[in-house]
């Protein structure tokens, strides 16, 4: 195995390192202020206080009241609680759910389980070739039976940002609740729930430098929700289980840190992203940007390269010290073309060639240049091996 000089992490959409300041904020709650926040003695007050403060911090950033925040065990749980929770609580009202074909598995599989096992009816509205949902399609799909619309805020594979505020307006007019999976947006886009017009919003700590294993579900007051994790009365009876205080503190601290310089950092990352996109498209023939050209996450660059397999590209990059992804991390091991790319009309074999590079806090222009220094060669080499790419004339 080649041991290249340094390690460049370009898979921030998969997960991020925990920020040292976040670790520091969490540490007191492991060995010292370890009380169970439900306990009545004063010692547990330290944990209660940490829980309350964290809830307020998150609520302030989302522009909601602390009571509307439910801390969960991860982004997946937030999505599950939103969808199953609203669907179950609304069974008397209707059994129709509207969603998109580019949702994360946490939303997609949950909707499909509701359809297969519990008789819910699902409408999956299309997306265009940039992965964009048309709000009119949502409006068309709403029926008297519709109880929930779930449209992600920003896509994890191609970075496309959906027109949530418009969809939210339609949903509100028709009296249907709107959930958004904002897991990829948390920390980098505006997540004010009123500006977004949403009733439920999912976040996951590990996408913005908090640990894996903690999430948030915002639930607008008055939204029907049957708890899906039942037991004690924690989180306003919406999510049972002894609270994970260190991670909740960590999530709040991380969201606060991200929020502090959100706009300037987004600008910095967008500039790096655009340099990366321009560099790749300039140096590599038959390379395509996937996702929307402008309405995309500031840190996300995603491509398809005619004729090669994404996993082979990944391994070559890995051997060059660069961590990248072919799309969704949790789908890996599956060899199927991405459901997101095929929904955007990308032909299955081209979809298999996808490469996602997602930038983060520690990345620099040098990192981008280093990638641009090796990627064209990697693609050329793999194409020379490929029966799906024309042989260069000189060798033919």
């Amino acid at each position: 195995m080649s041991n290249k000089s340094r390690f460049i992490y370009l898979d921030h959409a998969a997960t991020t390192a925990v920020d040292p300041r976040v670790v520091e904020a969490m540490l007191p709650y492991f060995e010292h202020s370890y009380g169970n926040p439900s306990s009545v003695y004063r010692f547990a007050g330290q944990a209660q206080e940490a829980l309350n403060t964290s809830r307020r911090t998150v609520a302030d950033i989302l522009g909601c009241t602390p009571k509307e925040i439910v801390f969960t065990g991860c982004g997946t749980e937030s999505d599950n609680l939103a969808i199953r929770g609203v669907a179950w609580a609304s069974r008397e009202r209707g059994n129709h759910i509207i969603t998109t074909p580019i949702e994360h598995h946490a939303v997609e599989t949950t909707c499909h389980q509701l359809a297969e096992h519990w008789g819910y009816r699902l409408t999956v509205v299309p997306v265009d070739r940039h992965g964009m949902v048309d709000p009119d399609d949502i409006a068309q799909a709403i029926t008297d039976e519709t109880v929930l619309i779930s449209v992600m805020y920003a896509n994890n594979e191609v970075g496309t940002i959906e027109p949530l505020a418009e969809i939210g307006e339609i949903a509100r007019k028709r009296g249907v609740h709107l959930h958004t999976d904002a897991v990829q947006a948390g920390g980098s886009l505006d997540i004010n729930v009123d500006r977004l017009n949403v009733d439920l919003l999912s976040l996951s700590g590990h996408k913005f430098y908090a640990p894996k294993g903690v999430g948030v579900l915002y639930v607008r007051e008055g939204t029907p929700l049957l708890p899906i994790q039942t037991g004690g009365g924690q989180e306003g009876r919406r999510r049972a289980g002894t609270e994970n205080i260190p991670y909740i503190v960590g999530l709040a601290r991380a969201l606060e840190l991200a929020n502090d310089d959100r706009e300037s950092e987004a600008q910095r990352l967008a500039a790096l992203r655009d340099r990366l996109i321009a560099g790749v498209l300039g140096a590599i023939p038959d390379a395509f940007l996937t996702g929307h050209p402008t309405q995309r996450l500031p840190n996300s660059a995603s491509f398809c390269f005619q004729g090669i397999d994404g996993e082979a590209t990944l391994l070559q990059l890995d051997l060059a010290g660069i961590a990248a992804s072919s799309g969704s991390a949790c789908a890996s091991g599956e060899a199927e073309p991405s459901h997101v790319l095929t929904a955007m009309g990308i032909e299955p074999r081209l979809a298999l060639s996808s490469l996602r590079l997602t930038l983060g806090r520690e990345n620099t222009a040098q990192d981008v240049d280093d990638v641009l220094g090796v990627l064209p060669d990697i693609v050329r080499k793999l194409r020379a091996l490929s029966p799906l790419y024309p042989m260069p004339v000189s060798e033919a």
Binding site: D309, A312, L315, Q316, R349, L385, S386, P387
Partner: protein, 129 residues
């Protein structure tokens, strides 16, 4: 995840290319994952005198192709016919469970190319038998 041997074959694949006028040829699709392999053989005195391939697929698919062709180059046809996916995987130092189908692709493609050779050369040893 991958052995050093596999990584070596992935980074320096042997026998890549096409043979303009092959004695046997096959193009095989993996039903599992969309991988695709094209293989060309030249046969002389019932031996694999030359073999070339091109593979679309992951590192395991590419390395399996490389290893499989290396294992049969210069071998008598009947030896080549005994190559199995398990032997390829073993020679690569093992494959992760999810990648075993990649070695199947390489072995299948090779066998198909040999069949193609027999079909096109009915006078050959095997075809006579």
């Amino acid at each position: 995840m991958y052995s050093e041997t596999l990584i070596d074959h992935f980074q320096n694949p042997r026998n890549v290319g096409v043979i303009a006028d092959p004695d046997g040829y096959a193009k095989i699709d993996s039903p599992v994952c969309g991988d695709l392999m094209e293989i060309y053989i030249k046969v002389e005195d019932d031996e694999i005198a030359d073999v070339k391939y091109r593979t679309f697929g992951c590192a395991a698919a590419i390395a399996s192709s490389s290893m499989a062709t290396e294992m049969i180059l210069g071998q008598p046809l009947e030896v080549a016919e005994e190559l199995t996916d398990a032997k390829v995987a073993e020679a690569l130092g093992g494959l992760p469970e999810a990648k075993v189908h990649c070695s199947v692709l390489a072995a299948s493609a090779l066998h198909a190319a040999i069949q193609d050779y027999y079909a096109k050369h009915p006078q050959s040893a095997k075809a006579e038998a």
